[in-house]
């Protein structure tokens, strides 16, 4: 017991003295949160509406403009010549362009709408709004009383901000990095440098050594999660709806999965260098396909289906459901996430037992 405590203490001390590890596991994740938290990637698609009108049609165009502005500040209205507006539309800088002209024969008002194909759904709904605004005009001018009285009310739902989505994902990512680098940085490096051999030339048991490694890594992971949560709370006022204990348990389980994955990789790789070479692409791939920075919904369908089963997806989704939606153990999604993590853990442990080597292969 005493040995276990002393080794664990020494491991944690070594971790805090290793600046590179500190930066990667504590500082870097928060930088990621800050960068992605400040930028709003949801606004990449245009919401500008272009109006082009003639002198005779100006009155109607302005009416439509006022009506659109009354809906709220979802849309930015631009005015200009039809040539300029159509150019802007083909440059993907307009959602929809409306051309107001007068038909010379019928003397009627012609409204032509040009819709942006890249974002057709939004363009169509704007087009509906415009049709409604124009028919209201018509009713008013003809002095017809409308039959329906339509009212709407906005219901408050849980608003998932970009940052709320991001924080659980980045926590999952840093747990992954901590687990992988933790094993490779200690066990593989120690093995390579002959430190393991020297340690086991003393009465120290392999069991004690392993337990202390896992224990110290878990403590560091918990600390990592706490620091990320507190700093994101202080800087971005993130809200945590669910149980903190469940967050901690999920984080520990996730950390164990990636520790086991680290052991698996270090069993296959002979040196620190080759372990990193295996780890990096796996890490990158998981990072961008497991809904860490952005929702997996942007992935093509086949990739979306496959990536539902990655350990990082289970961890990120699990943490996110607990933190932002307040889901608990009785929830189907949480159960799936925890089950998925457990299965991955068992798979990695099984492979690690087969492949792991204490001694340097010569």
């Amino acid at each position: 017991m005493n040995i276990l405590l002393k080794l664990t203490k020494a491991n944690i001390k070594m971790y805090f003295r290793d600046r590179a590890a500190l930066i990667w596991t504590l500082f870097f994740p928060f930088v990621i949160i800050s960068i992605f938290g400040v930028l709003d990637f949801a606004k990449y698609s245009t919401s500008k509406i272009g109006l082009a009108y003639t002198e005779e049609t100006e009155e109607y165009a302005k009416g439509v403009k006022t009506a659109l502005e009354n809906i709220g500040d979802y849309y930015k209205i631009e005015e200009g010549s039809i040539e300029d507006e159509k150019k802007a539309l083909t440059d993907d800088d307009r959602l929809i362009v409306l051309e107001f002209t007068t038909n010379q024969e019928t003397k009627k008002l012609d409204v032509t709408a040009y819709l942006n194909k890249s974002n057709e759904q939004s363009a169509q709904s704007v087009f509906l709004i415009i049709q409604k605004v124009l028919s209201d005009f018509e009713l008013q001018m003809n002095q017809v009383e409308p039959i329906f009285n339509i009212e709407s009310e906005v219901i408050n739902v849980f608003e998932l901000r970009n940052i709320d989505y991001l924080v659980p994902g980045v926590i999952a990512m840093s747990l992954m990095q901590g687990g992988l680098f933790g094993v490779v940085g200690t066990i593989v490096t120690f093995r390579e440098k002959g430190i393991l051999k020297r340690l086991f030339a003393t009465p120290l048991s392999k069991g004690n050594f392993l337990i202390s490694q896992i224990l110290s890594r878990l403590l560091i992971s918990i600390l990592q999660v706490i620091i990320l949560l507190i700093s994101s709370y202080l800087v971005f006022q993130i809200k945590i709806v669910g149980s903190l204990i469940l967050v901690a348990l999920t984080a520990i389980l996730g950390s164990l999965v990636f520790l086991a994955m680290g052991f698996t990789i270090s069993g296959i790789a002979k040196t620190t260098e080759s372990a990193r070479a295996i780890m990096m692409p796996i890490q990158m791939l998981l990072m961008f396909t497991s809904g860490v920075y952005f929702s997996r919904e942007v992935l093509p369908n086949w990739l979306f289906d496959i990536t539902a089963y990655t350990p990082l997806t289970y961890l990120a989704d699990g943490l996110r459901d607990i933190m932002t939606r307040g889901h608990n153990l009785s929830d189907r999604y949480i159960q799936t996430a925890l089950l998925g993590l457990t299965i991955w853990f068992l798979i990695f442990v099984a492979i690690a037992i087969k492949t792991f080597k204490w001694e340097k292969k010569s």
Partner: protein, 252 residues
């Protein structure tokens, strides 16, 4: 007749198709410095790692204080002081912390400060391994073998790669440890080192022990066969010149 505290009988070890150690037998007496000499690949390290309980044996028998090492490697580790060939230590623990940590693995251990003093590293307690010179690193690895105050020390090439001053310092340290009533098993490439330090040596090649005796007896045996050196040996050699010019004290 001195007490025989280590008995090795018919010891063998094979790696794939290489017979690393081939039926060797020898004994080590209490409080002697026993040298295992031989070219690279002779089987020196394999032999002592089997004696330390770090490697299993194929056949034969090793007894240290009547403990069967192959059956009780854990017991052996508790009482032996083991220094390995070129091992490294933790980057982010200072010397004191490394010694303390290693000490905690034994049921009883000595004060790290006392040990650092003994190996002349008392001012380096707060330093990290990367700040040490080659000689200091080697002295740290000797210090680590002393944490359980062992009666038997295994030193695997403790002077390889050291400059003449650091080597002389290591020799003094090894002599000092013997005077503290320890038994030392030493491997080396350097014959003058073996001649100076060892009470008895075993000369190995290709896994076999070719000769084992005191250095004096071995030399006399060779001379009796009518051996003559090609060049007349002078009273001093170039190393003596080097030490005379640069001084014997250690440069760290």
């Amino acid at each position: 007749m001195k007490k025989k505290i280590i008995k090795v009988k018919n010891l063998s070890k094979k790696y794939a198709d290489l017979q690393a150690v081939d039926h060797i037998s020898f004994e080590v007496h209490e409080n002697e410095i026993f040298g295992i000499l031989g070219p690279n690949g002779a089987g020196k390290t394999t032999t002592i790692e089997m004696m330390e309980g770090l490697r299993t044996i194929d056949s034969g028998d090793i007894k240290i204080y009547k403990i069967d090492i192959d059956r009780n490697p854990e017991k052996a580790k508790e009482i032996l002081g083991i220094q390995l060939q070129d091992s490294e230590y933790f980057d982010y623990l200072n010397l004191c912390e490394i010694l303390k940590l290693f000490g905690s693995f034994y049921s009883k251990s000595v004060d790290p400060k006392e040990i650092l003093n003994k190996v002349q590293l008392s001012t380096k307690g707060k330093s990290f391994v990367k700040e040490l010179s080659g000689g200091q690193k080697q002295r740290l690895s000797i210090a680590l073998t002393l944490m359980n105050d062992p009666k038997i020390l295994f030193l695997d090439e403790p002077t390889t790669g050291l400059d003449p001053q650091a080597r002389r310092m290591m020799w003094e340290l090894i002599e000092k440890l013997r005077h503290e009533n320890r038994t030392i098993i030493l491997t080396t490439h350097y014959m003058e080192e073996a001649e100076l330090l060892c009470d008895r040596v075993a000369i190995m090649d290709e896994g076999k022990i070719l000769e084992k005796d005191t250095p004096d007896n071995l030399i006399n045996k060779l001379l009796k066969k009518g051996f003559k050196k090609d060049i007349q040996v002078k009273e001093a050699n170039l190393e003596d010149v080097f030490i005379d010019l640069t001084g014997k004290q250690l440069r760290d």
